[in-house]
Symmetry: C2
Subunit: 187 residues, 2 copies
Amino acid sequence: MRQMCLMVDKKLSSYDALLEAGFLLFGKDKSASLADVAAAAGVGRATLHRHFTGRDDLMLALAKRALEELETASNAATENAPSYTDGLRLAMQAILPLAHRHMFLASERFDDPELAAWQAAQDRETHEAIDAAKAEGGLDPTLPTTWLATIYDNLIYAGWELIEAGEATPKQAANFAWRMFTQGATK
Amino acid sequence: MRQMCLMVDKKLSSYDALLEAGFLLFGKDKSASLADVAAAAGVGRATLHRHFTGRDDLMLALAKRALEELETASNAATENAPSYTDGLRLAMQAILPLAHRHMFLASERFDDPELAAWQAAQDRETHEAIDAAKAEGGLDPTLPTTWLATIYDNLIYAGWELIEAGEATPKQAANFAWRMFTQGATK
DNA sequence: TAGCGATGAGACAAATGTGTCTCATGGTAG
DNA sequence: CTACCATGAGACACATTTGTCTCATCGCTA
């Protein structure tokens, strides 16, 4: 059961190695022990506790890092998008391969105002993009924005499942998810 | 943290009450303790161990019960379906409200030949229905059946999320999920 | 009534996860 | 070189979970 060897690149700092190991192990099993995470990071158990007070603190740091990565990838992909509709497509393409890194966090409950505010801002941005895409004619304006946002997220997850199962390449999965989104959500 | 009172209808047998409690608690938190499950079932901890050898055995029983419920609901909904396409629609409608009962099992690894065979049979049935719907013209035949099956499942989950969030009624969610599926997957 | 079977309550030990502490080591900056 | 700092290893105590066992109780049946 134990991870006996290094699973994470040595070049990383202890802090980053611990986060990487967290994504790796908690992604497989959210109840992995902190000892396993430390071992996978190639650091001692004490060092984990030097950086994080405990499990909750580590989870919170993972959530913030995930949100950070998501935002970075999304912004980079959409900065030159010619339209909001294209922006949604490009963001989906960029986010899809990263989805597995933060999927295990979805069912987690965090009690952190900073994270909550950040997440709310992300949600608002997505909703605004969807509303703008509606105005552009890319999406059916009679469909509630919350419905479309939920579908958008779940199509990303579905695409990742296809990649994970070896059924599709990242490009194929992204194209398919986008096709389902636009064809399904146009009048 | 403990569940001090009965959470499950008294009319059930101990075995069924334990399964109900399992769906309820593991649905919220897959790492809930067996003591909590027993308490929620209104049953002593020893009785749980009289019915199940341990956590894995209980999880396996939950998986089998979930598959059973799924099959029953799906068969009842589709027995008079005029076409395979309609069958997929009716099955989606029937399965959607039950989805949350077995979603937590999706990320579980089972090592049971009976369950594996049963699950494979269900999968085969779904794939056959999708292939038949393609032949009927309801779905784009150039899309891989595995892709469509993955999307079908994820749209069901998305629909359940909408219900859970209070954003849509079961009927609305089912209609929306079906719209996304057919419009997205037709040529 | 007497006995049988299922059960709840609780005691118990073993295993695991967790948080803290100490000590020796190795690298780095002054 | 020397002092400092982060670290790995390991010891330790504590809490939780889990599996087993015993015993008294309750409902039902012969």
